[in-house]
Each structure stands twice: as structure tokens, then as C-alpha cells.
Symmetry: C2
Subunit: 212 residues, 2 copies
């Protein structure tokens, strides 16, 4: 029942490419980051799709989803990038009526709003008093399960710097995006201990304990 950052980056450290838009919320080239995951049966299942690869990666993803009792994310990840949602903070988010999270989601935002229930176990609670509060509320909702800090980069950085994160799971893809949103920015001085390395087709999984 730890608090876990679980995120895919390019080899040059980006979680999104440059110039994100409504149609392309991961920025130019950013969708390539997630090709390894999108191919997996467990990913497709969460996203209401059929088929996909039944592989060790798919099993790991399923276990990770099953072990996650609540999710923390930033407003832009909720809303799908820097699109028209910036003008309408009450818009419904990017993830549709049957979101893949299957757990309570706590969104760090400056715009207060009532909790929204979705299908499949997802609910959206909007937290206006910061990352620490969002993680605390997620912790309560998660019970004996893990809290997943999903992104964006800013929320991840804030959570790590505040000493709220126990484990960092990086899925490193052999892609060079050149520019975009950097994950591990401004984290000098944070101590990590590498605890696992798994080599999969198209991605290297690195797990670190955050020494808080």
C-alpha cells in the first residue's frame, strides 16, 4: 500500500512531445511513447477494447491496475492537454464515460467542483488545496491498495519533492522526442535506489525506491 509513480518516458526524459493539442494531447510524436502499452491485452481491457497481446508485460500491467486503489493526477492530464478545457474548467475531461482508471481519481486543480461519478468504478474528485491533500485523500480511498500518481510531470515532481512517493516505476522507451514535457525536472538532491530492471520488447522497466 505504497504511493507509486508509474509512467512512460522517452529516452531523453519526456512524457509528452512538443505542442500538445486537443487532437494530440501527448504532443508531436508523444503517442509513440505508449505504443508498447496500447498493444497489451490488459491495457485494451481497461480501455474497453478487445484483443491485444497476452504477455508478461500485460500480466504486470493487470497486476498493477488491480493493486491500485486510487489515482492522483493533474488537471491537464484529466482534461487531455492544453486544449479548449483551459477555457471551460467544468468540461468533462478527456477520458470519456467509461474511463480506464476503475478507481477514485483525485485531480489537483485550482477550480473547485463537485465529485463526478463515472462508469466502471471511476470517480473524479477535484482537490483545490494541493498535491499533499490529494495524495492524503487518495490514501484514504485506496484502503490497503496502492495510490498511483499518474501525471502530469508537474504533479509527479511536486509529489516526489514533498516526500509523498515511495516508488518510481519508469517505463523507458527507446525514443528521442527532442522537446516536450520533461518528467524528472528540478529533482536534484532526491535520492533513489534502483530495485528492479525488466527488459521487455520495446520498453525497459526500471523501478526505484524513493529514499524519503
Amino acid at each position: 500500500m505504497g504511493t507509486i509513480v508509474d509512467i512512460t518516458t522517452s529516452l531523453d526524459g519526456f512524457v509528452a512531445g512538443p505542442n500538445p493539442t486537443l487532437e494530440d494531447p501527448l504532443g508531436e510524436g508523444g503517442e509513440r511513447l505508449h505504443e508498447w502499452a496500447v498493444a497489451l491485452e490488459a491495457f485494451r481491457e481497461c480501455h474497453g477494447m478487445e484483443g491485444g497481446e497476452t504477455s508478461a508485460d500485460s500480466e504486470r500491467l493487470r497486476e498493477s491496475v488491480d493493486a491500485t486503489g486510487a489515482v492522483v493526477m493533474g488537471r491537464r492530464m484529466f482534461s487531455g492537454g492544453q486544449g479548449p478545457w483551459d477555457a471551460d474548467p467544468n468540461a468533462d475531461g478527456w477520458w470519456g464515460d467509461d474511463p480506464p482508471f476503475r478507481a477514485p481519481v483525485f485531480i489537483v486543480t485550482s477550480h473547485p467542483r463537485g465529485t463526478v461519478a463515472k462508469e466502471g468504478g471511476t470517480s473524479y474528485t477535484f482537490v483545490t488545496d494541493g498535491v499533499e491533500s490529494a495524495v492524503r485523500q487518495a490514501r484514504e480511498a485506496a484502503g490497503e491498495k496502492n495510490v498511483g500518481v499518474s501525471g502530469g510531470a508537474n504533479v509527479v515532481q511536486q509529489a516526489i519533492k514533498a516526500g509523498l512517493v515511495d516508488e518510481l516505476r519508469l517505463h523507458l522507451t527507446p525514443i528521442l522526442l527532442g522537446s516536450g514535457t520533461r518528467l524528472l525536472d528540478d529533482l536534484g538532491g532526491v535520492e533513489l535506489e534502483r530495485t528492479a530492471v525488466i527488459d521487455s520488447p520495446g520498453v525497459t522497466h526500471l523501478t526505484f525506491r524513493v529514499v524519503n
Copy 2:
């Protein structure tokens, strides 16, 4: 007989920390990057020191050094950072009379200067017409062996972008430097294929083929 970039980075992508000086040419915290290598018998041997760990990493380092017939580096790596050498381009470099390279070294610089011979097989040739020329001259000197592009970041980036590099060997350490000199900067669009992952104590070795 490929051209190989072989370099250690922090998890956040830096090959040196901030504020490099004469005493601290790798910048603040930068010496931590190389702790894994400094501990190895093969590293100590190259640097004229005794003792050290006899491990799989040490064997790999020895094989890599033995397979390298010539080295390309930038002027700052030669001179040990942004120290007083900036004022004296004829200074003798940072690596002493018995440098660890044990092969001809081609230094990319704007300052013409005659070739300097050192002990143990190292020579310094100063190349004023760019990275492509330095790699070509190193290629000729290396014969059937590899050309090693050692750094700094700028020379590595130029060589990759010019299509001169066949393989990228990244030694990824679980360190967050926060700022400093980034290795994989401005390389958007370069295609890599991951060819090997080796998990060692304190470092993860990732090898990529550069798709030129």
C-alpha cells in the same frame, strides 16, 4: 569496427552536474556518476591504480577498452571542464602524463596545435575542421577496432546528428542531478533500436543501435 558513444548519465539525463570547475570538472555531484566505474579493476588499471572489483562490469569495461582503437572527444573533456585552460589553449590537458585512453585521441577544437604523444599509447591530435573530420581520422587510426566517442555532450550530439554513430552505450545511474550538462539534448527525430539491457550493481547498461 563501429563508432560507439559510451557514456554514463544520471537518471535525469546529465553527464555532468552544474558549475564545473578546475577542481571539480564534472560539476556539483557529477563525480557520483562514475562511482560504479571507479570501483572496477579494469578502470583502475587504465588509470594506473591497483586493486578494484573483478566483476562482470570490470570484464565488460576491459573488453570495451581493448576493442577501442581510437577516441574522439571535445576540447572541454580534454581540458577537464571550463577551467583556466580556456585562457591557455596550449595547456596540457587534464589527464596527466599517462592518460587512460591507451589509443590515439582526436580532439575537436578551434585551436590548431601539433600532435602530442603521451605514455601508454595515448596521443592527442587536435582537429579544427569539425566532428566529421575527427571521426574520419579516428576511423583511419582505429583500423579494425572501434572508434569511441567519449564526450562531452556537445560532441556526442554533433556526431549522432551527423549520422556518424553506430551504437549508443548508456550507463544509467540512479542519480538525480537536477541540472548540469544534458547528454541527449536536441536529438528529436533520431531513431534508436534498443539492443541490450544489463542490470549491474549501481548502474543499468542500455545499448542502442542508431538507425542511420
